[in-house]
């Protein structure tokens, strides 16, 4: 480590110590969650820590990957709010996509609002018949004058009920091949014709929503990456999701393993063994994640990110399951509202959301190992 890195670490640690909220949102649902996410984002922006990976010209910190790692290490150590909160889509999907594919007007209007905690974004990709098979999107958009008129339905949209904007993927050319028929457009969630229905998940909160569009008129100037060019635009977004954005979560899991090990008595030999194995697994996932992050620093994340994504997802499931077993199913820590039982159940989504484990394995088999397509 260089002294510049050491110095960054000290700065980050000091700032986080002074600024991390002592408690989470008052509720996992609705307005309280929105206020909490925006306030935390504002505070980070005020301290110069918002958009740590974003280029300086767009208001970010422009940190190198190594510097980002240091920040995430300190972030996890400080027990800061989960980065997978309501700000996640704006900071890690929509913002980077606008930086890569947006017009100068779109960048000027949206990027600072995302960074400064003024708005929340959600993602409108999945549909009842298009999850892993994203190219099967059916929600339609037809050009009428200066607007794209959207009809259809999206589902599994996290935080649609509290978001201001949505990165929306719709079919605009019904005659073209599937991957050349889509358009990526910025959809303001307040437009007439949008109905949001929250869906209660098995982990408790209303994490997902169903969104219905009926004659929703979106200005054509909101299209990102060009009409009918939504597939490559969407893929650039998903590439971020398979990369480094989850480092703080991974480091948080590693801390959980350390904490459990520290509390595990000698008499629980099987649990100690299990935690020791998780510690080794965690170290390997961290090494892979760091190496991938550093290798990918000079280019767009590639398919080998799927290995990291998959290992991380399954590691998270194993750690949360071990935590439940450590305390016992009848422990207050587990049974409590949003306790470890919640974390365990929530981790089921890790191998489904953002590209299922099966899709990741296909990518690894075909693009990393070079095996023939099934």
């Amino acid at each position: 480590m260089t002294s510049a890195i050491d110095s960054l670490r000290e700065q980050a640690r000091a700032w986080l110590r002074a600024n991390v909220p002592s408690s989470g949102p008052t509720s996992e649902d609705g307005p309280a969650l929105r206020s909490f996410a925006l306030a935390w984002q504002k505070r980070q922006a005020g301290g110069g820590w918002a958009g740590i990976s974003w280029p300086k010209e767009f208001g970010g910190r422009g940190a190198s990957v190594l510097e980002q790692i240091v920040w995430f290490e300190e972030y996890a150590r400080a027990g800061a709010p989960s980065p997978l909160d309501a700000s996640f889509v704006g900071l890690n999907h929509a913002g980077p996509t606008l930086i890569a594919c947006g017009t100068s007007e779109q960048k000027a209007f949206h990027l600072s609002k995302i960074l400064n905690g003024e708005v929340l974004w959600c993602q409108g990709f999945s549909e009842p018949g298009a999850g892993s098979d994203l190219a099967a999107v059916k929600a339609r958009g037809r050009v009428e004058g200066n607007h794209l008129v959207v009809d259809g339905q999206k589902i599994w949209t996290s935080y649609a009920d509290i978001a201001d904007y949505q990165e929306l993927l719709v079919r605009t050319d019904p005659t073209a091949a599937r991957s050349r028929a889509l358009t990526w457009i910025i959809c303001p969630m307040y437009l007439p014709g949008i109905t949001v229905r929250p869906i209660k998940t098995m982990a408790g909160p209303f994490k997902y929503c169903e969104v219905f569009y009926e004659g929703v008129r979106i200005p054509l100037s909101n299209i990102v990456g060009g009409l009918h060019n939504g597939w490559p635009t969407a893929m650039s977004t998903l590439a971020f999701e398979r990369g480094t954005a989850s480092l703080a979560l991974l480091l948080g899991l590693l801390r959980t393993v350390e904490q459990l090990l520290a509390r595990c008595p000698d008499s629980r030999a099987a649990m100690r063994t299990r935690l020791a194995e998780l510690r080794a697994e965690g170290a390997s996932v961290r090494a892979m994640a760091y190496r991938f992050a550093l290798d990918a620093a000079a280019s767009v994340p590639d398919s080998s990110g799927s290995i990291v994504r998959l290992c991380f997802a399954e590691f998270g499931q194993r750690v949360t399951a071990a935590a439940v077993d450590f305390f016992g199913i009848d422990a207050p820590e587990v049974l409590a509202d949003h306790g470890l039982g919640y974390a365990y159940l929530d981790a089921f989504s890790e191998t489904i959301a953002g590209g299922t484990a099966e899709i990741q394995r296909n990518i690894i088999a075909e693009r990393v190992l070079g095996l023939p397509k099934a």
Partner: protein, 305 residues
């Protein structure tokens, strides 16, 4: 052990199926963490199914068959302890529902909000506590059973049962049978889903990766079921510990496997799979979890180290 069902057993399960069909089983039409089938529980009790092990010629095996069958339903009822454990401890038939706790009477227990009896495993003996409903604090939890804990441990109506070994053995059989039923129901739900759900132009179930993983889930379900029935039939400590431990050791994997192929839909309360997932997770942690059962199976088989 005869691996085919006797005429009597077939008749018992046939009658139970008819009774279930005649009942208004709570349908998961609205998102809830669990459905307690109070009316079904009464009907099952009135029809004598919970006392089957007390009948001449029948025993824990028939009770385990009933427990496994009822665990497949979307609603939850207290059947395992009443039908498998109570007869072996000579607890009178009317004293139910029954809640179970390990070690400490003050711990949260499944079914305690409904229970008339709480049985506490204290290692060397069992404490039978007659539950005063006013002394029960319900616990709001995701874990699919009605959980509660005693508000006070003072002035309890209680007596000691000396046979802790039988209690723990039957608890393990009960746990294994219930887990086997939950696994079977979850698998059936997922199989239907992957047959109907289309992706990339064909049913999800046509993808070999999915077929293989669900086939492995089927191995687990069948293994858990036969181990549970074997333990109920033999009533041996080693078999009971092995059956409970096997089921518990597979629960984490099978619940992930089953949810994986239901996508995001399977993570919502609008899809019933979570009802069995919650129950399985609760069962996975009972009696100290899989490692404790494995240790007990080893001791029962080879003696203490």
């Amino acid at each position: 052990m005869n691996y085919g069902m006797t005429d009597d057993q077939t008749s018992i399960l046939g009658g139970l199926d008819q009774l279930i069909a005649s009942q208004a089983i709570p349908a998961p039409t609205e998102p809830r963490f669990f459905y307690y089938g109070a009316e079904l529980e009464r009907a099952v009790a009135e029809a004598g199914y919970l006392d089957i092990a007390r009948e001449e010629g029948f025993g824990a095996l028939e009770a385990a068959l009933i427990t496994e069958r009822l665990a497949r339903l979307t609603c939850v009822i207290e059947v395992a302890a009443s039908s498998i454990i109570a007869p072996a401890l000579a607890i009178p038939p009317g004293m139910r529902p029954i809640a179970l706790a390990l070690g400490d009477a003050g711990k949260p227990a499944r079914f305690l909000p409904q229970a008339r009896v709480l049985l506490v495993d204290r290692g060397t003996n069992v404490l039978l506590i007659e539950v005063d409903p006013n002394n029960v604090e319900p616990i709001d939890t995701l874990m699919a059973y009605p959980y509660g804990r005693l508000r006070s441990l003072e002035h309890l109506r209680q007596r000691v049962i000396d046979d802790a070994t039988t209690f723990r053995r039957r608890w393990r059989v009960a746990l294994a049978a219930e887990a086997a039923g939950c696994m079977a129901a979850g698998l059936a739900q997922v199989v239907e889903h992957v047959k109907a759900r289309q992706a990339f132009g064909r049913p999800l179930g046509a993808f070999q990766a999915i077929q293989h993983r669900l086939a492995m889930a089927a191995e687990t379900v069948e293994s858990a079921r036969w181990l549970a029935l074997r333990a109920a039939w033999s009533d041996s400590d080693a078999d009971a510990a092995m059956a409970a431990g096997f089921a518990q050791s597979r629960i984490a994997q099978i619940t992930y496997d089953l949810h994986q192929f239901c996508g995001a839909m399977g993570l919502t309360l609008e899809f019933p799979l979570h009802l069995w997932t919650y129950r399985l997770r609760s069962l996975a942690g009972e009696l100290g979890g899989a490692s404790m059962q494995a240790r007990s199976a080893a001791i029962a088989t080879w003696g203490s180290a």
